[in-house]
Symmetry: C2
Subunit: 300 residues, 2 copies
């Protein structure tokens, strides 16, 4: 089934101890879409400026990502993010953020998108995420991401959002911030009790945890020794997870766990190159092969 | 097969945001031995002072832990450690260390111990660990732990030790410190190339990684929401792992992975209470039950 994603589309400038890339394709909706495109067709809603390279759009289209929902603002400039990774490749410093056209992003869904069954609200303000949900007609599964900024500045809107969605994906420090808990397992369940049927806590290089009324589990990250650029790993995780769920057309516990695995593996490839570089090199066979290794690793 | 452990025996004073315990039984060899005693008989080599409560020794004996190698120094005082956990229950501050009789610890193995097939050198100086190995006659499997202090102060002796042992267990920050690497997967293999056939990197609440010439894998920690006192979790991990290996009498890849699992689960119980409190409450059935849950969690 097709998968709808609404989120940021950006030009990133990334610096690591070894290397640097300028104005590469990035943004939550882009990393998400590319990862999801291994599994299903994607409909992307976002906004860019006139400086957005047409070949980036063509590249997305070539992956079965529908960009009819990608608005190009005449005379506008695309959202730009610039960051620098510390030698441990986990911690990073944001050097510059220019919201540009993303600052006034007011997503209007093309009619053809409104009946999408699988919805992902990539990182954006809860107010904006509510606006998207208002346009959706009878979704099957609605999952959102959030971040510390919105927990701190739009807590009420976020708490309301949690009652409207089926799943929430957030990272470890955000889960602690949102709940005031100190223990991640407790935090996961507290977030779940705020509304969503399931909660996924991303732990970066340590994998991801899953919480539902019936299950609590953690799956480790795939151990890679080639960490080139972690930018977008969380969105790539969500894209792999949601892409697989949309492909399967269901989200029972078994399918959800498989989806968690595919999310983790998509993210493990993502960090092995700048931007989408590494994901562009692989095909579904490479993903399937790593899944075999991953399952083997966890079997004893 | 019996398992020999040489390490510290201590009286710990532990403060957490919720509670405090004074002069409870602790030390690397104690946590190790207790965890291992679920699987096999243990021979403990250590040193205490006259202030060591006799009932602690009796409790260890009741678990099949042979304390003929536990020297009581007349007029001496037992090693004391005191620490305080921060609210996240991972970071801690050492408030006080009194080495006392452990400062002059010069382990002499009872003759009956020298032919032990499974050996664990719990945290101690590499010089002391070498002295123990010098007394061993034809061990089957020799594994050591180490820590940042020895990496910084006795690096040469540690590097020599790595050539004499089959396995090394250390934590994540220590692996990075020892190798100068920034990536844990790389660090694990670099340590392995320094001598041991296998290396285990402990990641605390994030589980443990395994490295051999043939395998690289990571297993997550068991997700517990009851973290009362993490003191000794690393030694408990090692005790569960080595105890299982000694019980099985072998250390092929499959057995090693099972052993990693039992180490992780023993540690997950350890953190659920102060000192040995939680481990004292459980039996082998509880361990087996959690192992079933753990395997289930990792199956998809």
């Amino acid at each position: 089934m097709p998968l709808l994603v609404v989120g940021s589309v950006a030009l990133d400038t990334v610096e690591t101890p070894q290397d640097r890339r300028e104005d590469v394709i990035g943004g939550s909706a882009v990393h998400f879409s590319y990862a999801a495109s291994f599994f299903t067709s994607v409909r992307l809603v976002g906004v860019v400026g006139e400086d957005w390279p047409g070949e980036y759009t063509e590249m997305l289209n070539s992956r079965g990502i529908d960009t009819d929902g990608l608005t190009v603002v005449p005379g506008g400039k695309t959202f730009r993010w610039s960051g620098k990774y510390l030698p441990n490749m986990n911690d990073r410093e944001t050097l510059d953020v220019q919201l540009n056209v993303f600052g006034e992003f007011d997503p209007v869904l093309p009619d053809a998108y409104k009946k999408c069954s699988f919805i992902f609200l990539a990182n954006g303000s809860p107010t904006l995420q509510h606006k998207v949900l208002d346009q959706i007609e009878g979704a099957h599964l609605t999952v959102a991401d959030t971040m510390d900024l919105w927990i701190n500045t739009e807590r009420d809107a976020l708490v309301e959002l949690l009652k409207r969605i089926d799943g929430l994906v957030l990272n470890d420090s955000e889960a602690l911030l949102l709940t005031g808990e100190k223990n991640l397992v407790k935090a996961g369940h507290v977030v779940r009790e705020m509304g969503p049927k399931f909660v996924v806590i991303k732990k970066g290089e340590h994998g991801a945890m899953f919480f539902s009324q019936y299950e609590t589990y953690v799956l480790p990250a795939y151990p890679t020794d080639q960490v080139v650029d972690p930018t977008g790993a969380g969105d790539t995780f969500a894209g792999g997870m949601m892409g697989y769920l949309a492909q399967q057309g269901k989200f029972d516990p078994k399918t959800l766990k498989e989806a968690m695995g595919y999310g983790i593996l998509a993210a493990s490839f993502n960090v092995e190159g700048f931007s989408l570089d590494r994901l562009k090199e692989i095909d579904n066979d490479a993903l399937a092969k790593r899944m075999d290794e991953y399952k083997q690793m966890l079997t004893f």
